[in-house]
Subunit: 142 residues, 3 copies
C-alpha cells in the first residue's frame, strides 16, 4: 500500500474563476507512477483548503462554465443582507462553497485516474483574486 | 490492506431516473468478503463517470424520490438560455449534476457497509435514457 | 497501513442546528496518534448515517451560520406540497440533505488533519431535535 500527498498551489485572477486542474493532477500522478511506489488501483482524494472555493467534477466546455457561474449567481444572490457580510464582505462566496462541497474522491483503476470521457476536475474560485490557493491531493492504493 | 475495484454498468430508461444501487453494491461487497481478501473496516468510494449524473445517499421512499426530481427542476430551470445548450442540448442536466456531486465515501465497519437504517445509495440519471452508465466502486480496508 | 474507525454520537437541541465537530475529531485523531498505529499521512472520511442531516466543511463564523440556514430555507421551501410529507412530515429536511451531501474526505498530512485556517467540519442537523445522531469517522493512512 502506498500513500502519497501532493499539494497544488494556484493563483487566481478574478472574483469567479473555474480552473481545470485535471492535467496538473495527471502530471503529479504520472510522476508518482514513474517511481517505486506506483499505484495501479486505489483512490485520489481532492480537497480545497479554502471555504470560499470548491472542488467539482464535470465537463470542461466553455459555454457550460458560464452556465455554472450563472446558476450559482441565480441560487445565491449577491449582497442579500447576509449576516456574514458585516464581518467579512464575502457571504455569497461561502454560501456557494457550502452548496458545492470541498472534496471529491476519484477512483484509480489500471494505473489511471478513472475519469469519464467528458469529466474534468475543477477548482472553483468563488472569492478571488487570491494568491496561493492550496489544493491537497492524497493518492492511496497499491 | 486490500484494494478492490468493481464497476457497475447501468442502462437507464427515462430522462430523469433515480436508481437505488445499494443492493448491487452490497452483493459486490459480499462477494469480496467471501474471498481471501475480506474487508472488516475501511471505506467504499462510489463515483459516477458521467457529468450528467450524480451519486447521492438518502432515503428510498417513493414520494421523496418525486420530491428530489421536483426540487432539481425548481432550482435549475430547463431551457433557460444556457450557453451549453447551443453545443449540446443538456445544460440543465450538467447543472443538476454540478450541484449534487459525483462521489460519496461510505464507511465499512464490522464487515458491513455502514449505511444508516434509512439510507440508500442512489445513482441519479439526469440526461437519459442512456446505455452503459458506469459507476466505479473502490473498496479499501483490512 | 492503518485503518481506524471512531463513531461520534450527538444529541441535537433544535430543528435546525449546525454543530462544529472539528475539535471532537481532532481529539479522536490525537488519541489514535498517541497509540502504536499513528497516521502521518492519509485521509479521514466523515459520514453522517442520517438522511435528514449533512456533513459540510466551511467557516465557523456566527453570522455565516445564520446565512447557511437562510440559504437552505430560501432554496427549499418548507411545506411545499411535497409527496414525502404525507408519509413522514420532513421532506424539506431530506431535500436540504440531498443538496448538501452525506460525506466529506479530508487529507491527513504531517500527522495533522489538514484543514485550512478558516475551515471547520460541521454536522448539520436538519430535522431535530434528535438523540444519538451517529457520525462515522474512518482514518486511513500510515
Amino acid at each position: 500500500m502506498t500513500v502519497i500527498n501532493k499539494s497544488l498551489k494556484i493563483n487566481t485572477d478574478s472574483h469567479f474563476q473555474i480552473i481545470d486542474i485535471s492535467s496538473e493532477i495527471k502530471t503529479a500522478f504520472n510522476e508518482i507512477n514513474e517511481g517505486e511506489d506506483s499505484i495501479e488501483k486505489g483512490i485520489l482524494a481532492v480537497f480545497t483548503k479554502h471555504s470560499t472555493s470548491a472542488i467539482v467534477v464535470n465537463e470542461n466546455e466553455k459555454g457550460l462554465l458560464n452556465d455554472f457561474e450563472f446558476i450559482l449567481e441565480d441560487l445565491v444572490k449577491d449582497k442579500n443582507g447576509y449576516d456574514h457580510d458585516v464581518i467579512d464582505n464575502n457571504a455569497a462566496s461561502h454560501l456557494k462553497s457550502f452548496l458545492l462541497g470541498s472534496s471529491e474522491t476519484i477512483p484509480i483503476i489500471n494505473g489511471k485516474i478513472d475519469l469519464g470521457t467528458w469529466q474534468s476536475i475543477f477548482f472553483i474560485e468563488l472569492d478571488g483574486p487570491r494568491r496561493n490557493r492550496t489544493i491537497d491531493l492524497v493518492f492511496i492504493g497499491e
